[in-house]
Symmetry: C2
Subunit: 125 residues, 2 copies
């Protein structure tokens, strides 16, 4: 990976862009202000561009920063879509089911449900 940027860092710059305030942004990311500051500074060093102009108040993105933030929003959105995909599969019943039953009762009880059960959950072994 030539480009070293993490999803977490993207969340941080998006949060700062949204709140225009490091402390508030940090709270919304459930991290401390120094953690957020450090990561953003590190990201700026890695990318070789300044993302936020700290000389103004409230804090405002640079031209480059604005574009990167916009792209970060797109990326985070696409990542969220993985959740949609998971919805279709995560709740699916699958795997192995073990049933314990005492031998004297088995001949009477098992036949009463095993057929329907097996029909309903063929993916189980």
């Amino acid at each position: 990976m030539m480009l070293n940027i993490s999803l977490t860092q993207m969340e941080y710059i998006v949060a700062v862009d949204t709140h225009r305030h490091f402390v508030t942004a940090a709270e919304h990311c459930f991290v401390t202000q120094p953690t957020l500051s450090m990561q953003i500074k590190k990201l700026e060093d890695q990318l070789g561009v300044t993302i936020f102009d700290r000389t103004k108040q409230p804090i405002i993105p640079t031209d480059a920063g604005a574009k990167i933030i916009k792209q970060a929003r797109i990326i985070l959105n696409e990542v969220e879509r993985i959740n949609d995909i998971l919805q279709e599969y995560r709740d699916t019943v699958a795997g192995e089911l073990k049933i314990g039953i005492i031998p004297t009762l088995a001949p009477y009880l098992v036949p009463r449900f095993i057929g329907n059960f097996y029909k309903a959950f063929q993916m189980l072994s």
Copy 2:
């Protein structure tokens, strides 16, 4: 972040999907096979779905896996686009320039270029 997936993990599953082979995929990611295996397993645990069916040879993605991989390719593509944005700004001359010159010469030399220089690089301090 409710969804815990890293860009590195996405690169790994995309590589395995491309090569249908853990060892080859690992080489292309410049990591060892165990590193790649561990990360993919960890990802599967986190997401709660199996991404690759290892019982077949060559290795093939599951239904869920195929969709996740497809989305991962989209995401990695969008991440690459940040590079495009950087191209426009990274090479821009900016920052602070310090010039040292001995006092006896300064009055004669500095005025001869400072004007044009400042005009050309106003973003410098």
